[in-house]
Structures are given as structure tokens and as C-alpha cells.
Symmetry: D2
Subunit: 468 residues, 4 copies
């Protein structure tokens, strides 16, 4: 099949030149333009400012830096704001999941770039949740300012003493007393309340522990961060990083009281709410990770031709072992991208629910591979690779973090594996049909009994077995 | 982004149900119909006949079995013939690379199914080559019967004593004497001449060893298999398998004479010819491998719920370690498929040449992962997994073979890695721009000199270095 | 610590030069001499005869080749016979497990060398079993000729339709009728009876299925290979290899009758017998595998400096990626050897039973790593690596086979893992003691309550939990 | 081989119960006693104090904490001091490398325990170096206080802009001017001078760049930390950790002047000195890493039976996937220990120089495997595994750091691989001898020419080739 028509020359350049053809053909003009603007924004406003951002955070650890405030203001004024919003929002820029994925990869190049455009976790998930499930009064009070970027929110589900990968285990109690709920329990993660911009927690708590239906026992509540009795025990570091100025907190709820108006959707309906939350967020995480990998890969390339580093008189990139490493990393990053883009495209075509498998595929494969690739990039830098001389340690930590965020790989693998096993009976029937037809053929060809050469028969097809 | 429209219900079933949405949207009606017919053909005519085929081969090791002859006749009469042909052939069914890839995966479910449809290696590559480079007389004599399936051909390039991954090393000599070429040398692979259907070798030989341009030293010649002086030393087994009745031969050319009419394209033009040959064939190999993996995966599923195998009283598939294995294999097979399909789609959009990188991506990633996955399937069968009780050992061997066919992974990785290094200067400039902008920002924010917190600077950007 | 005394110069040469120092210091003079003789035997009588052996087997597939008969005669006459026998045999050469391991590695260099010295599986295990559990009459009839090498035996346990990794599942029935047992069932593996030297099966069968103690239901019986009703359905190939002239059989027992005198030890005592069989045999397998790896490694080295193979004008071994591969393989082979030698030494010190863990360690780690290493060696040979041009495919297959022989890795891993979990309570107590002491220290240093910096506490120590 | 004698019951308990038998048999009574005392020390004085130590460091980041001072005082008074000293020191406790390795593993359980006994890097290496190469005046001034623990030292070799894995690249200049050397350059690593106890740098600098012998160009100098012109640019973090209060520094030397008396051994003799330094230190690092792995493994065990974490109602350790993980980690930790202990034993028997290969084996295999194992342990803890709730992130970081300390794996692999290639000719001769003997056998058995079955010949033995 020879080339039918020349490609749009635009697509030979950053950020389009690593996208698959099938994607390029689906990009609408307005999306192309928006992707270009996001690209320009990250290239000129974000990456070069990384050190300023760090320095400002260093000066005042738990305060949103002035640089971030200014960038958010500027991005918002340019329409680079809330790009992730699905098109049923009137504020949505109308990007498909696939188109937004391209933006997310670009944002991933520096980990805080998404925040400049109000496209960062956990806000994206929280905004979608509030929009979908809150009543008008709640929306006005909580959703509007989040979308405007006036304050920030946290999602509070995981607990220290529970296997939270199965959320029915969640134990933090919310007990109705008159017009209030009284909350007691401990929570992990959720952005730190030391940051004054953090105003509200979306809390999952157990309100009806005796309900025979375990999926109706929990309630989702809005808890203001200045609630009495809500204390933050410590900042949770991730591989030693405090991730200031947002960070992750460890919280104690001790007789925290919130009015019943703060219940989302209704008592006992937390799982209804939680279910819809995770799909797109996981894809965004994965695309940002790919952006991080591309950044790490560029650093690997730079090291490979660094004339200051000439072990045994050769460029590091002249050693064919490193040439192989560069190749492997490139091939794997690009394969990961195909996986995530396919997930986004599937969600666009069939909806988030039908996309469950492809989302899980991204969630399981991408972070593990990303951590491995960035580790390899660090290794190319030798001892320096682990120091703050490059952003690689922070990138690695982000990849490692995404691997456990929303539950460890194993939990997701189990889900996929169990779904596969449901295909057993269909597979068995398919093979039984082979065997039936094979018996006919044997008669036709007059082979009787055992085939001569001891070749494989159909004995591997199991009989029907009992449920154990 | 919610589901816009329900999917064609056809696509929820075999063979379409594992294809990505973006592909489904590209399939034209006639392609859908053809894919369905190939699917039905393989399901009912090929897989159930596997044991008959083996038994017939066992009876007469190097003869094309009667079953194969009948199936080819039947497939041809039904129009399931030469499906791989690009649309510039008048005999082409007009499939895009992407559409044909779907067929190739299905054919891969049993390794000889492709042959029933004259879509097997090395014929596909040979037919494309002869069609592209032969003159009319040659086409009539050699191409026509190959396309009609009247005889078969071999491609003869690799040599025992040369590093053939760099084809300029090829040493077999073809010396012009009058109107003939006299050929002397040794060759590996190429189907065995013990099979009487094997009529012609497409031979790459060195005709002009002194030519200063190493890419002009070699000539491609058509060598009839009954040429005097051409002897087959032995059948080359692959991991012990003789792969009868086609197999792989080890050949000696001793003063073999062919008329100058048998030169393809012209003396010294072998590399021009060779270059175009490999792309699509590699994709076909990879898609067939994915079909093989799906077959192996089904066997794994069957084992997992086999009531005859209940270690410690549980189904093998009730052990969560195996549930994780099933998940991992499924995720990786599907990721591989995305890689190969993207390669096919890229070739459709931009041509084979522009597809070089994506073809290499498939060639490197797929066979290695496939061998690993099939090995895991075998392991689920314990000791039985290595015996002829299942087709798994043959599937594994095919995957392992594809990994070295057309050169070992390392050679392909080097090519990709070297191409990546060419991006060094662009990358460097991009990062220099970051650093320039960062200097401005520093002034703007009045940070002077060393940033406070010892954060990373741009020192990792190398200066321009000498060529070594 | 500087070198105290020069090493015995003997130890700088084959076969001693890769042994760890602690082993060399334990080798007794007579063992050194025997190891040297085994080395010389394999170097001059076995490896150079590999092709003759193959050719003789090819001529008469299921007959012990004349070369093998002569070599066995010669080895026996030189005292290189039954070297594996533990020293409680009067025929034992008196080697420790450690010393014999050195011999086994050497024998492993060509897979049939052990047989020339009557040190091959399954004879070694069978001889030990018969010696330990047979009465005098049985010993005279079956053990004596086995030790003399007059005929060969098979061990028959695994079944096609059972999860044999848990032997209590074994279903083949042996029913007492008068003075005989009547046997019905199917068995996998066990050398093929097509070889006329194969005279007796050591069969594990279920004699008392209703016994409440599952470990008392099975009986071990001696079944002559010419018993009526015993048929061999087919030779079981291993990855396509028939492993002639011994091979592996698939057997049907149909009303096979053996006299009650053929019961070993007593009815219902099969597990008592089976238990003692596997330890040393697994170590022998692993050491032979290491010998095979060394052989494969030598081939890799030869390829690396082959002047006939100069891709891009360099030796394969001049590519630093291959230098790294050579290093990795070398390091891993040597690490494996340390693992197996430690197992042998532990058995010498503490007995086979106490060696269970170290034996499992060898069984799990060595075959998997060996298969990986040999695969890498094959890959260095490119396409040729999979053909019969080198012994590598057969070596790989042997390693892959050992991985599933005696049950798949997973079964052994589970055993080890469960044993580890038994250490939970000890570990918990240890950490509780840390926490107790830490509380004291906190008082002493006047740190109260929460430590300042949010450092880790001892919360990870779990409370005591219920048995689930 | 049955058990000859019962094991010393002492050896069934911590810390001896994971040591191989061959080691136990070599431990002398005084070593056993010392190992026990180190064990008790770490169990009761160090691990329980981990949080106090952290809290004190947090209060005064770059000051040696009071707790450390007290522990050092106490350990010293109990004779748990400088245990690593080889027996040619009069202060040596007389431990062999093997015996000291047991101590080092125990010390590794908490990363600063070694420091309490003055057995920590870089002091151990620096003390050995100064002891071996300094003159009496230097020893009195620098070595004595280091051995007494009065101050600490740093080793200063690596540079930011050089490929320091090849030390001949080192560029920092030391120019003789009169009775002084003037030093200019930049250095990475070396403990931070912000800690007031850090008194002296052992600096490797280039003093004679034009010397035709690259191994004679460099000089080792003692540089007091308060030298004028010596500034520390920043603390180098390792994966974000500052490793206070010792840490790693980035240094600038600007016209730093030291008297010529501070030259060690003599101008141009740096490589003589450097060579002897690394062997034992690498083994110590690796043994400490194994101690860290054991600690991490214990945490994994604790998690596996934590009743607070019951995903799907089961202990994490009841999932057989985790049982397999526990098994794999256990087997690999123990295999690593065998590798390092063998290295130590080889050094005891043959000296450090002869131990080069086994030291490299430890250096290459252990840190990579350790990082992998600790990563797996973290993963068992899910999201919490990355936080400060357990010491796992710090343990992982230490393992990752050791992987690049003293040069990345690749440099060490290259050394090993190149050494292996030196064995090519010996290997070739060995195989040529096989082929010679095979030719004789062929005649004897009257096989002529090509063997029938196409079996492998000896063609893989390469001819002698040119040096390229």
C-alpha cells in the first residue's frame, strides 16, 4: 500500500510527531489549535520556570507560590482552563478524551503544569463528581469556586488500617445526629490542609454499618477543612518527597460535625458516586506519565552525547549497549502511548463504562513500565542520576506513586483476570466444536483410532466441572 | 464523554471483539465480509484438521500433503487466495495493510492456515518482489505460477559463515561467464528442495566484490531448484522441529550455472530489490504470532477451569497467582496487537518506507513478548505443557523463530537507537531554549546566583561536542 | 586479610577453577582424584562422541546404541560407576553430596555422559529407593541388575488427568485380588518401554481410596515392563524432541496383574517411600544443568570471537552490549553454582530432610535462570542458534524440562512461601520488642507524643489477628 | 549422606540461622561471640532508637545528634569499635572478611548502626587507605583521630563533568607551587562540610596532566575541610533524601592551598592508592544491603498477616500470588548472601586482588536485586508503602544508591565481560581437541563424510582470527 497523500506538515513537528496516524486523522481543527497552545504554554511558561517554582516553594513550604497564582491567572485569561471538562459542561472546551489525552501528555512534561490550567488531580475528578452528583446549592458553594480556581479540594477515601483497595472496608464513621453528621475516623492522603487554599474534603464514610447490602453502607460528604475536630497528623511523604505545597495528609476526624446539607446525592449512595470517578482520571495520570517519560528520555539523549562524559574516550551514546537501551526505551514509551490513546478513544466511542478494561490496561501497564524506563534513564547518568542535578528522581517517584495510587497493580490485575475467566465456557465450546469437526475429518480421511505419530489430540479440552 | 451511538453488534463477536475501536471504524464493508470468511475458513477447515495434517506429513515427510492440496484448491475457488496482494495488483482483493492484518491474525491461529490461502511466507514476500522487479518474461515464467499456487519458491540470502544481519557481507559468488552466471557458495534457510513443489530460489550473490560501493556489489538471481551443482546438505531443524514438508535447508552451490536472463532488475541491484521486501512481511509474521498467542491463551483458560486438575482442591484458575498471570498475558497480547495494527495503519497512511520505525517496533517487541507469553501458558500445563498433548511447544518455537528471522533483535534495536541519537541536536536546542527563558525568569523574579534550595539547574545540557 | 598461602596449583585449572574456595578446602584427596577422572572421561570419551551417539540413535531409534554399551562397560571397568551412591552402600565410592555435585556438573556437559557412569536419572533415584525400601528378594531381583547396569527402570507417578503436583490425587488403581494386585489407570512419563532394556516400572497407585488418611491410600509396586495389559500409547515428546532411546512414555494399565511380592515396603506406604526420593536427584539435575550452561557459555564465547562473523566489521564480542551479556551470564551461572553447592553441603551437614529449603531453592532458581542464559547464548548465534548447528537448542530444552520435572515452580514456591509465613509470629514479637524499647527511649530523651518530623512509628506492627 | 552430628543449637537462632553451613563451620568462638554482641547491640540500641535519631536530626539538620555521640561512646567502651580492621592492625579485633561480613549484615538492619561502631563508609575505606599509605606524621595527625572517632573524613574523587567511572579522566588540578599545592576544580559527593565533625578530604587530583603514562598523572592529597577557597555549593540529595547529618556535597576548589606534606605516598601515585581501596568496602556495602533486605522482608511478612488489612476478607498473605512473592524474595535474598559470603571467603583465602571477580559479582548482582526486592515489599504495602509509615522508601533508596556508588553496573559488567573474553583461546583449544578426537571416533565407527541425521558438527568452532 503506497502512500496515498502527503501528511499535514504540521504533524511532522512537536507535539504531533509521535502521535499515531489514526489519531491525527481524528483531530479536529479546533483541537489541533488547542493542543498547540497547550504545547506552547508548557514549553515557554512552565518548564523554564521549574526552578523558580521550586525556589518559591522552598521559601514558604505550604503556600501556593506566587508564580503558580500568576500562571493560573494568565492561563485562565487565555482560555487554557478546565480543558478536561467533558462536553456536557457548558464551560467545556469540547475536547474528546482522545484530544484531551494529547494535552495531558504535554502537561506531563513538568508535573505542575496541569495545575496552571486547572487540569490537575484531584481537582479534575472532584469537579466531575460534584458536577454530576451535587444539588444546585452545593454546586454554587463548592463546584463553582473549584472551577474558577478560587480554592482547592481533596478526595478522602483511603484509611490507614483498612484494605482500601476494597472500599467496602472503609470504616470512618459518619453518624446522623439531628441535622448533622458526626464524623470519627482516620484518613490517608487527600491534599494537606496546611495549604490555606485547601477548603473542602470529599469524604467517604460509613453511615450505616449494619445495612445488609455492603454497597449501601457508605455516604459521601463535603467537609470544610476548617471543621472543628479535623486535625492533620502529619504530611505523608512519598519516597521522601513532601510534594509541597499540596502534599498528602494523614488526618484524624474526632467528632467532626457537618450539616446534613453536606451529604452528596443522599445517604448510603457513596458507591454510586465513587464508581464514575476514576476512569478518565486514570487515563490523565497515564498520559502525564508518558509526558514525563518523554522528558526523561530527552535527558537520556542529552547524556548520550555529552562531550564532558567520555568513558574510555567515547560518547556514552557510542556504546552499543546504550544504543540498545535508547531503542528499547523509545519502543516501549511509544507502545504505552498507543495503549493509553486506545483507552481514550474507546471511552469516546463506547463510554467510560465500556472502557473499563482498556482503562485498567493503561493503569496496570503504564506506571510500571514508566518507572522502569525512568530508572534506566537515571542509570545512564550514573551517580548524578539520583541527585537533584536532573529532574529524574522526581519523575521516577511520580511514576512509582501512580503505580499505587487508586490501588496496587495486583488489585487491578485480579479484576482483569477474573473477567477473563468468565470467557471459559465460550472458549470451551469453541474448542469442542473443533473436536467435533475433527472427528468427522478423521472419518473422511479414514484415519482410525490413535493417529500414527502420537500427535496432540483434543484431550486438553476439559469436561464441564462443578463450581467450587 | 458518554457513548454516542451503539456499536455494530457484529463487532461484539469473534473475530472483531478484540479489535480497537479506531480500527473498527476504518473497516470497509467488503473487508468486514472477507475477514469473516477468513475466520470461518480457519475455524472450520483448518484448526479441526490439524491432526490430519500432521498425520499426512508423518506418512510422507517432504511431500505436500493431500489435505493441503485440497484445501488450497478449495480456498482458491472461494476467492480466499492471495489476500495479501497490495491493490496495485489487478489480482488484489484490495485490502489495506490494516485490513489484511486482521486476516493475518486469524490465519495465525494454526500455523499452516496461511498456506491454504497462498498467504504464507516466504511466498508473500517473493511474489511482491517478483511483481515489482521482474520483466514480463520472468513474470510469466516464475510469478504467474507462484500466484496460481502451482509451485513454491525460496528466498536465499543468509550464509553460514557471514554476519548476515549486515547483508553487504554476503559472500556467495555469482561470476559472469558469457551468457551465464556461475554460482559458488553456501546458503542457510530457504525452503527445502526435498519438497518437489519447491522450484525456484531467489538468490542474493556477490557479483562484483571490488565495486567501491558496497551496495552495488550484489545481484539477485532466479535459480531453478533442479540446477546442476545445487545440493542440499541437510534440513535445518528449528529447536528440533524439521518444519516439514517445507522446512529450512542448508545449501551448497558448486558451479551452478544460470542464464543471464535469470538476473532480476540488473547486475548489482540486489540491495535495491531487497530493501522493499521486508516491511509488510514482518507485520504479517507479527500478526500471525498474535493469532498464535490468542490460541495459546485459550489453552491457558481451558487449563484454568479443568476439573481434572484440582491441586489442593481448587481449580488452577482459582489461584490468584494464576488470575494475575491470565491478566498480564491478556494485557500484553492486546498491547502487542495495538503496536502491530498501528504499524499497518501507518504503512497505509504514509507508505512502507515511512513505516520503517513502526515495523521495527513490531519486529522487536512482539516476538519476544509472544515467546514469553506462550512459555507462561506452557508452564500452566506443568509437565504436559512441553509434550505434544497441546500445540504450545510448536507455538513457542514459532515465536522464538520469528525473533531471529530477518536478523536478531539486537540488529534492529541498534538501527532504532541510532536513529534516536540523530534527534540529539534538536533536543539540545529545545533544552537550551528552556535555559534561556529560565535566565530571564530568574531576573524577573529577582533570584540571583545560586537558587536557595540547591535545586537542579540546567547543567545537564551538554555543550556542543566533537564528532568522535 | 591478605593471602595466607598459595592455592594448590591444581585448582587453577579445569574442572576446579570455578569452584568456590570453601569447597576446595573440603575436597578430600580421593574425591579430587575421582573428579579429575570424571573430567577426563567426559572430555575425551563423551563430548567428542556426541555425533556418533546421535548417528547411532538415528539408525535405530529406540535401541541403546552400541557406543553407549561400550562406554558403560569401559566406565564400569574403570570404577567410574554408580558414583552417586551414598556411603551407606558398600558399593559407594564414598563421595559426599558436595563432592558428587562436582562430578554431576562435569557429567552435565553432555547430557548422556551420566548414563555412561550409571549416574543418570531416573536410575539414581530408583536405585536409592530400592536399596532403602526393598526386601532382600526384591533387591536381588531388581536392585542388583540396576546397579550392575544390566537393565533400566522407570518411575511412574504422574497422571494425565490429575494435578500430580499434589500426589494424593493419584488415581491409578491397584486392587488386591488374592495373591495379586490388579492395576488400572494411565501414567505419563517413565522411560519408554520400546527400549528393550527397560524392564521395570516403580509404580505409585491407589490401593485404598477410602482410607481416611490420604497419606495411606497409595502403594508402590514393581511392574515388569512385559506385563500383560500394559501398553504404551505414545512417546511423549518434550518441545518436539523424542529423547530417544530412553524417552518418555504415555502408558495405559488395563487389568495388569502383578504378584503381591512386588509391593515395596507394604501396602499403603507409598508416601513414606516417595518422600525420601527427590532431594539428591534434584541437586544432581541442577548441577548437570550448570554443566550444560557452562557448555553453552563456551559456545557463546566462541561466537564472540568468530572471524567469520563480523557485523559492521567488528567481532560480535567487541560490541559492548555483548560484553555486558557475557558478564551477566557468567555472574549468574556462578551464583547458581553457589546455590546448588550450598544445598549439597547442607545435606551433608544436616541431612536431606533439613535440606528441604535449600533443595527447593536450587530447584526453583536454577532451571529458570539456566533456560534464560541458554536462550541468550542462542540469541548470540542469530538464526543459526536455533538449528542443529550447535547443541544449544537441546540444552535449552533440557533446562526447560527440568523446570517442570517434579512439579512446576509455582508448587515449590508455594511450599517455600507458606513456610516463610510460619515465621510471622516470631517476626512480630521481634518488632514488638523494638517498639517497647522505643517507648522507653522516647521517655529518656523526653520526646513526647508525636515525633516532630512526622517520622515513621511502629504502627506497621499488626495486632494479633484471628485465623481465617 | 545422612546427618552426621547435630548442629550447634546456637545456630538455629538469630543471627546465625540464615548462614550457610560451610560458614558456620568456619566461625571461630571469638567471632561467634562478637557477632552475637553486635547483634544484641543493633537489636536493642539501634533499631528501637531509629525515631529518636530522626527526631534529633530534624532538630539540627547538619549536626551529629547527641544520640549518635552517646552510642558511639558506649560502643567504643564495649569494644564494639573498628571491627572491620584487618588483622595487620594492632587495633584489629582479628575478624576475617567472612566473619566481619556477618557483622556487616547485622549492622545493615538500620543504616546508621555501622556508624555507632565506627564501621561506616567512607570511614572504613579511608582508614584502611591512610593506614596503608600514610607516613607516621600523617597517621598521627589524621588516622589516629579517625580511628578514635574524633572526627570524620570524606573521599573526594567523582567530578561533575567527567566520566569518573574511568578515573584517568579526573580533571581537578593540583599544581605544585613552592612547598604547596594549589587546587582548582569541582567535586561531587564526599560528606558535607556543613557537619562540623567533617575535618578532612582525601582528594584525588591531577598533578601532571602531560605525563605520558595516564596512571601516573594523579596525586592523592589530604585537604582540611576549613581550607580557604574550598566551598560547598550544595547538598546533593539522593532521590530527594539529604542523608543528613552526613550527606553528600558538591564542592568547588578555588585556589585551595595545602602544604606538600599533605601528599599521600608521593606525587603521581594516586592510582596505586586508589586500587587497594575498594574491595572490602564493596563487600561491606553489599552485606549491609542484605541486612536491609532482611528488614524489609520482615515488614512484608508483618503486612501479610495484618488483621487490619483483609482485602476480600483474606489476609494479604493468604493470597497465593503473595505467597509466591514471599518465596521468591526469600530465595533471592539468600542467594545474594551466598554470593557475598563467597566473595568474603575468597578474599580471606586468596587476598583482595584475587577476589576482584567475586567482589564485582557482589557489586553487580546484589544492589540491583536488593532494589527489586525492596520495591516488591513496598508494593505489598500499597500506597502506604511509599510513605514514611515504614522505613521501606529509605531502604529502597539505599539499595538504588549502592547500585551507582563506585560506578554504574555497566562499567563493572564491562570489566567482567572483557575478562571473560580473554578465555576465548583456551575455550577454542578445548573445542578443537573435541573435534580432533571426534574425527578419530568417526573413523573408528566407520561413519564417513556427513553424518546421516544432519546433526551438529564442529563448524561452530571459529578459525583463528585477526585482532581488530
Amino acid at each position: 500500500m503506497s502512500r496515498k497523500s502527503p501528511q499535514n506538515p504540521l504533524f511532522d513537528a512537536q507535539p504531533f510527531n509521535r502521535y499515531p496516524q489514526w489519531l491525527l486523522n481524528k483531530l479536529r481543527p479546533q483541537a489541533i489549535s488547542l493542543i498547540q497552545r497547550v504545547h506552547a504554554w508548557v514549553e515557554t511558561e512552565c518548564i523554564p520556570a521549574e526552578q523558580i517554582m521550586k525556589a518559591q516553594v522552598a521559601q514558604s513550604r505550604w503556600e501556593t507560590p506566587e508564580l503558580m497564582r500568576q500562571l493560573r491567572q494568565k492561563a485562565k485569561s487565555q482560555g487554557l482552563w478546565n480543558l478536561f471538562l467533558p462536553d456536557h459542561f457548558k464551560e467545556s472546551p469540547g475536547l474528546t478524551n482522545l484530544e484531551y489525552s494529547c494535552c495531558a501528555e504535554i502537561m506531563g512534561r513538568t508535573y505542575w503544569a496541569a495545575q496552571t490550567m486547572n487540569c490537575h488531580a484531584p481537582e479534575t475528578g472532584n469537579i466531575e463528581l460534584l458536577a454530576k452528583y451535587c444539588n444546585d446549592a452545593q454546586k454554587k458553594k463548592w463546584l463553582k469556586p473549584l472551577m474558577d480556581g478560587d480554592f482547592s479540594s481533596a478526595y478522602s477515601m483511603t484509611e490507614p488500617d483498612r484494605a482500601s483497595s476494597d472500599a467496602t472496608n472503609i470504616a470512618c464513621r459518619a453518624t446522623r445526629e439531628g441535622d448533622e453528621y458526626v464524623i470519627n475516623g482516620r484518613k490517608l492522603y487527600g491534599n494537606v490542609k496546611w495549604n490555606a487554599d485547601m477548603k473542602v474534603y470529599i469524604l467517604m464514610a460509613c453511615s450505616d454499618p449494619e445495612n445488609p447490602d455492603p454497597w449501601r453502607r457508605h455516604t459521601m460528604l463535603l467537609v470544610p477543612s476548617d471543621s472543628k475536630g479535623l486535625t492533620m497528623k502529619r504530611n505523608l511523604t512519598i519516597m521522601g518527597y513532601d510534594h509541597a505545597p499540596e502534599g498528602h495528609g494523614e488526618y484524624v476526624y474526632e467528632n467532626v460535625r457537618v450539616p446534613k446539607e453536606n451529604v452528596i446525592l443522599g445517604e448510603g449512595r457513596a458507591f454510586e458516586i465513587a464508581q464514575g470517578r476514576l476512569g478518565p482520571g486514570r487515563i490523565h495520570h497515564c498520559m502525564r506519565l508518558i509526558g514525563q517519560c518523554e522528558r526523561a528520555y530527552e535527558l537520556a539523549l542529552l547524556r548520550c552525547k555529552d562531550p564532558r562524559k567520555l568513558p574510555r574516550g567515547k560518547y556514552i551514546g557510542d556504546f552499543d549497549s546504550n544504543i540498545e537501551r535508547l531503542a528499547t526505551m523509545r519502543l516501549e514509551i511509544d507502545a504505552m502511548r498507543l495503549v493509553v490513546l486506545n483507552a481514550a478513544d474507546t471511552m469516546d466511542s463506547l463510554g467510560n463504562k465500556a472502557g473499563r478494561y482498556v482503562i485498567a490496561q493503561s493503569k496496570i501497564l503504564v506506571p510500571e513500565m514508566a518507572a522502569k524506563i525512568v530508572d534506566e534513564c537515571m542509570q545512564l547518568y550514573g551517580g548524578q542520576g539520583l541527585t537533584q542535578h536532573t529532574p529524574l528522581p522526581e519523575i521516577w517517584t511520580y511514576a512509582r506513586f501512580v503505580r499505587v495510587a487508586d490501588g496496587p497493580d495486583a488489585a487491578h490485575r485480579h479484576q482483569v483476570g477474573r473477567d477473563q475467566l468468565k470467557g471459559f465456557e465460550t472458549t470451551r465450546k469453541r474448542h469442542l466444536a473443533y473436536a467435533d469437526k475433527a472427528r468427522e475429518l478423521r472419518k473422511h480421511w479414514a484415519f482410525s483410532g490413535e493417529l500414527e505419530d502420537g500427535e496432540f489430540a483434543w484431550d486438553y479440552i476439559p469436561p464441564s466441572g462443578p463450581k467450587l
